[in-house]
Amino acid sequence: MLDRQLLFITGKGGVGKSTVAASLGRAAVAQGKRVLLCEMDAKGALSTLLQTSELSFTPREISPNLSAMTMNTQDALREYVSIFLKTPFVAAIPGLAGIFDFVADAAPGVKEVLVVGKLCYEVRKGNYDIVIVDAESTGHIVAQVAAPTTLRNFVPLGPLNEQTKWMTAILEDSQKTGVVVVTTCQEMAVNEALELVEALQTKTKVSAAAIIVNRVPSEIFTKSQEIVFSQLNQVAVKSFIVKKTGSSIDLSLQASGLARARRNLATHHIATLRSGLAKLDPIKELLLLPDFSYQPPDLLVSKLSSELEAELS
């Protein structure tokens, strides 16, 4: 996964995209790569996770070999115009960016092309070995990676159209670009992940690099322990324990029973995910990450990144 040059990390809202993106970034640095992390919405989650000050459009090196930036359409437009149209003065026209934003919102693909264009540009410049994008949620990613193609169909001529060709060459090369779909072991998140992988295959030529299941609860009982656990829940056994120890262990059984049920539910949803993925071709890399909820953000990223390093090595 980390051998690619451009990775989009996406998934349903709340599954931990930013955490996974930050952890992948750290894992890539640990592999000796120069990494650029890019946050797509200016929510600031990435800077909190990386424990750094607010990010800007210009990448900033926050630790050795790890740089980070935040995406901004207007800055992307300004950069695009000055680099590719070689007309830096336009950026100075008052209100231009606002008007452009407005039009770009209406015309399919324009905004996405600017954003994706900036990412591809960073890949092409080669200042980094890998660009990892903390992308928008599932609903937008297909439109984003397919934008150059969409735009080409919509605007058959013009310089922007020309520009989309080299972007497509990067995006549609599965050696270079991949989408990483993050999910949790919840029904809706799994459904969205499967729908997204299918949409990527049917609507785009961009490859899904991997599926990452985040917050997988650990196994509670081994198979033989399971049998003992169910025996312990029998009335006769319970009353024997009360007789011998002077105390019931009902609450402990309930607590571990709840954890066991949550684990089983997670296993069920992961099985749904696996069988869904099996129907889609080719089979994708599937990584399971343990549940580190209730961890402080800094520990979360370091724990997840070492987990990822181990998984990916």
Binding site: K12, G13, G14, G16, K43, V81, L85, T87, V90, I93, P94, G95, L96, I99, F102, V103, D105, A106, A107, P108, E136, S137, F154, V155, P156, L157, G158, P159, L160, Q186, E187, M188, I220, F221, S224, Q225, I227, F229, Q231, L232, A236, V237, F240, I241, K244, T245, S247, I249, L251, S252, L253, Q254, A255, S256, G257, L258, A259, R262, L265, Y294
Partner: protein
């Protein structure tokens, strides 16, 4: 009366918001079910994108804008019965937009041109946070139909929870924006504002000739609907501020959803919306909070190290075993291990619940009242699950 009972006693609207994945849809549905079983109200639950099993629990089969009345059949296996009536509906953004256009278009020709315009689809997907606007618009429509006493709406997942509150205002601002006027003035071939000229030149170079004109033409059409849209958006906005509208914030006791809920709560207060209730979802069940569980863990700790007890217990297990699946040879060892695992999870549960209880104080500050919903063993798959969740919320 509990705060939740109070909430569902009122007529009006309940808007359920919070970050993605915290169980908004289940909570909304449970509140609706509770209202329809505890009161004789006509209740509607509106949802954006329900999980399949939850949709089935509500009797929703297919996607669409149709509201479905839930028959008492669904309550067959439930101890609780319907007193009022319960309906459920999904919000289909595209269909709702088409409805809006059809309603506000001045004539058939405009309507058809807009609906068939290639830019239209893009507009409905992206402009002015259309998902958020549509959710409120649908809420308004259901409310003004007079068919329901209480409507519970589950808000769409958005990048920023605020967008739903600002959606009606944005819709109004959009029509009055200078940019829209500038753009549409051009397509009517009026005299170009000199200041805009370089922009058009650049835009043509950037986007290709003609695209800008297409966009302008579309918005010129769109502007013919201005009066209707703006008037409607104003009414929708007024409804949000109505004293009959209550907001409910749902969160789990984890870092990211809590921060989102905190942000949302502050924004609601600042805008003077009535934030009636904050719900902490997936909380360790009450009986597992506190010292009793910890004491049991200590009992387990002693018991599993007591070889005499273990061998006696092993005998009991063998005698009560009917399946003969049990591994008799290693039973003592296995029993010790299993008891240790149970002990560990008892202690882990205590730790989580202690952590949760410190976070609960934060949730209590998010709204006038707060309630707690327990962590469940499985996803909600039928009406009984919703009844139980509702009853759990209803405990003081």
């Amino acid at each position: 009366m509990t705060t939740v009972a109070e909430l569902i006693q009122r007529d009006g609207l309940i808007i359920v918001c919070g970050s993605g994945g915290v169980g908004k849809t289940s909570i909304s549905a449970a509140l609706g079910v509770l209202a329809a079983t505890q009161t004789n109200k006509r209740v509607l639950v509106l949802t954006v994108d329900p999980a399949k099993r939850l949709a089935n629990a509500l009797g929703l089969r297919e996607f669409g804008n149709v509201e479905v009345q839930i028959t008492s059949d669904l309550f067959k296996t439930s101890k609780t019965k319907l007193r009022g009536s319960l309906s459920a509906g999904m919000i289909d953004t595209k269909a709702s937009w088409d409805d809006l256009i059809s309603r506000h278009a001045p004539d058939e020709a405009t309507r058809n041109s807009v609906l068939q315009n290639s830019l239209y689809k893009n507009l409905t997907e992206r402009f002015v946070h259309s998902h958020d606007y549509i959710a409120i618009e649908r809420l308004y429509q259901a409310h003004s139909s007079g068919a329901y006493d209480l409507i519970v709406v589950d808000t769409p997942p958005s990048r920023n929870a605020l967008t739903i509150l600002d959606a009606p205002k944005r819709m109004q601002d959009f029509f009055s924006s200078r940019l829209l006027k500038l753009l549409t003035a051009n397509s009517q071939w009026q005299l170009l504002a000199l200041a805009a000229k370089p922009f058009y030149e650049i835009a043509d170079r950037l986007l290709g000739k003609g695209l800008l004109r297409d966009v302008a033409e579309f918005f010129t059409l769109f502007r013919t609907m201005e009066a209707g849209f703006v008037e409607r958006a104003k009414k929708v906005e007024a409804l949000l501020h109505d004293s009959k509208t209550s907001f409910v914030i749902v969160t789990t006791l984890e870092d990211a959803p809590l921060s989102e809920a905190e942000f949302l709560s502050a924004a609601l207060k600042e805008r003077k919306f009535s934030t009636h209730l904050a719900i902490a979802n997936r909380v360790i069940p009450k009986e597992l909070q506190g010292g009793a569980l910890t004491e049991q863990a200590h009992v387990l700790n002693d018991a599993r190290q007591n070889t005499e007890f273990i061998s006696e217990l092993a005998d009991v297990l063998v005698n009560t075993d009917t399946s003969s699946d049990i591994d008799e040879a290693n039973l003592s060892k296995l029993l010790t291990q299993t008891l240790e695992t149970i002990q560990n999870y008892a202690l882990a549960t205590t730790q989580i619940s202690e952590m949760q209880s410190t976070l609960l104080d934060r949730v209590a500050g998010f709204a006038d009242h707060f309630a707690v919903a327990p962590m469940l063993e499985s996803d909600i798959a039928d009406i009984n699950g919703l009844v139980t969740l509702g009853e759990n919320l209803n405990i003081v």
